[in-house]
Amino acid sequence: MSSERFSVSAEGYLAKHQVLVYLEDAISQLLDHKEDNPKVNPAKFFHDYFTSIHQGNHTLFREYSFIRSTAHNRSSFTRTFWKCYKHIGKNGDLLNVKEYHSLLCLLCPDFPFDLVQKTARIILMDDAMDCLMSFSDFLYAFQLQFYYEEFLQDCYKIYEKLMQATRSPRETVVVPSSSSSPRQKKQQTPLPPPEQSPEGVDCLQFYESLLQLCSVTDCSHPKTNSLKDILHNSNRVSFYGFLMALAKNESVNACIGVLPTKAAIMDDTDPEHIVPIVTPRSKSAKPVLGGRTPRHIKH
């Protein structure tokens, strides 16, 4: 592992760590900064720039294209999001998609609504856009959606392909005799109409296609062990059920490595806690009775 970096080419090494992305950005930031401060010391500026990248607090107030350009930026942004708004989770407030989107826009002005919507779909499993979500649910789903965006897209393609195979009449005729034999679920009708076709796809089949995807793709993906854990627990899985399981999986979270475990998410012990930004919503707040109570009551 540690000697791997010596065996790749220089370009491969630079590309793996996305050094050039950061160098380019550093220079353009320097040039921007120079406009207002002509006496800037570039070496000092670069030192500050790379230190903040190393600490992961460089994504605040940056444009979306930069935030999503590297895996490190994505995870850093997720962490920033968590740090800025964890008091929401502590208060137990539930918010809807639009409210979460405006929170994100405070950190990144051009954050697309589309991504927030996708995140909501993972939690709500349908298009009910006005539903309220708890902060921790949203946070982990958001992390998954944002960090593994390309991977999830590919997953969806695979899922659709498998679904189509199950839906198509030709396949359904074949299914009872061969591939469904290990299943205990009895077939209700030999030819179910598409809307009532069995929920989701066969887990094993899905897992194998995902393994194949993981072995060829260059975009970052969760560890195959975690996928295995999730998909070997049941026979069939729906796409959003799969995503929800991924979002809740602790090992996937640990692999990205910026958010604490779900139990520790409300802990206020972080010394570098960023001063909470006042949220834009006050009227629409709907405190939920009987909702979650804060974990820590300070005396």
Binding site: R5, L14, V19, L31, E35, K44, H47, F50, H54
Partner: protein, 265 residues
């Protein structure tokens, strides 16, 4: 971007700014050093690189220290770094005409390198490797001293993982019998490696997994589960002593070399 380029009456263009402030050459230098050394965390490396060349000038010892730590000592680039660091250390600012690494600077570097080693051990190591303050340190003495420091660091890490293997209950205490057996074996094999090259192979065989396994099982069965335990600190001290036995003392080897400083005078 376009607005900025359009503006012709700006005092200097971006390119001019980059040329004037040497940014281009700095980045070129940073990149070529990075590719040569392949640091594990390039971003951290860049942060440190630019810290090094920004205005608050670090001392030459810090510079040399950073240079030495750029890459692991098993990499070919390490030797280049060691030479560059030596050159940095040799440049004497105050005294004219006197170039060379003095013992005091060398000791400072060693102290910096052995910072994260337990002080008891690093003191012993320093006693062996350091030179007198007024001596001029030749390159080979410097190199072996630096290398000893770095190897010792890795050695202690290895010892730690060995100890963790013995520490089955993860309580910070390991069975004394097991540890003693392993340490004795290590000691024996290390002292064996003398001038005879074959002895190194013999030592390797002695430390092979099956031999070690047999010895360990013997020591456990003979002593009938002695409850005596050993802590990591003790284990570390004993294993470090084994290592330090093999580090040649610089004061001895310098006696043969005529003092370079007297040459220069």
């Amino acid at each position: 971007m376009a607005a900025r380029l359009r503006d012709a009456d700006r005092p200097e263009s971006n390119r001019e700014f980059l040329e004037r402030t040497n940014v281009s050459s700095q980045i070129r230098d940073a990149l070529s050093k990075m590719i040569e050394n392949r640091p594990e965390d390039p971003v951290l490396y860049l942060a440190e690189y630019f810290e090094g060349i920004s205005d608050n000038k670090p001392s030459k010892v810090t510079k040399a220290y950073q240079r030495i730590l750029l890459t692991h000592y098993t990499r070919p680039a390490f030797e280049t770094n060691a030479v560059a660091a030596y050159d940095t250390l040799c440049t004497q600012s105050g005294i004219k005409g006197c170039n060379g690494l003095t013992g005091s600077v060398y000791t400072e570097l060693l102290a910096m390198l052995s910072r994260d080693i337990s002080s008891v051990i690093s003191e012993k190591l320093l006693k062996k490797t350091q030179c007198r303050d007024y001596e001029v340190v030749p390159y080979d003495v410097y190199f072996s001293g630096v290398l000893a420091c770095l190897v010792l660091k890795d050695y202690i890490k290895e010892a730690q993982s060995l100890f963790n293997e013995f520490d089955i209950s993860k309580s910070g205490h390991a069975n004394r019998e097991l540890c003693d057996a392993a340490l004795n074996l290590l000691d024996e094999s290390v002292t064996m490696t003398t001038s005879n090259p074959v002895s190194i192979l013999e030592a390797g065989v002695k430390l092979s997994p099956d031999k070690l396994c047999r010895l360990l099982s013997q020591s456990v069965s003979v002593k009938q589960r002695n409850t005596s335990t050993i802590t990591w600190e003790e284990f570390m001290l004993i294993s470090a002593d084994i290592f330090l036995k093999k580090v040649p003392s610089t004061t001895r080897c310098l006696k043969d070399v005529p003092l370079v400083s007297s040459f220069k005078e």
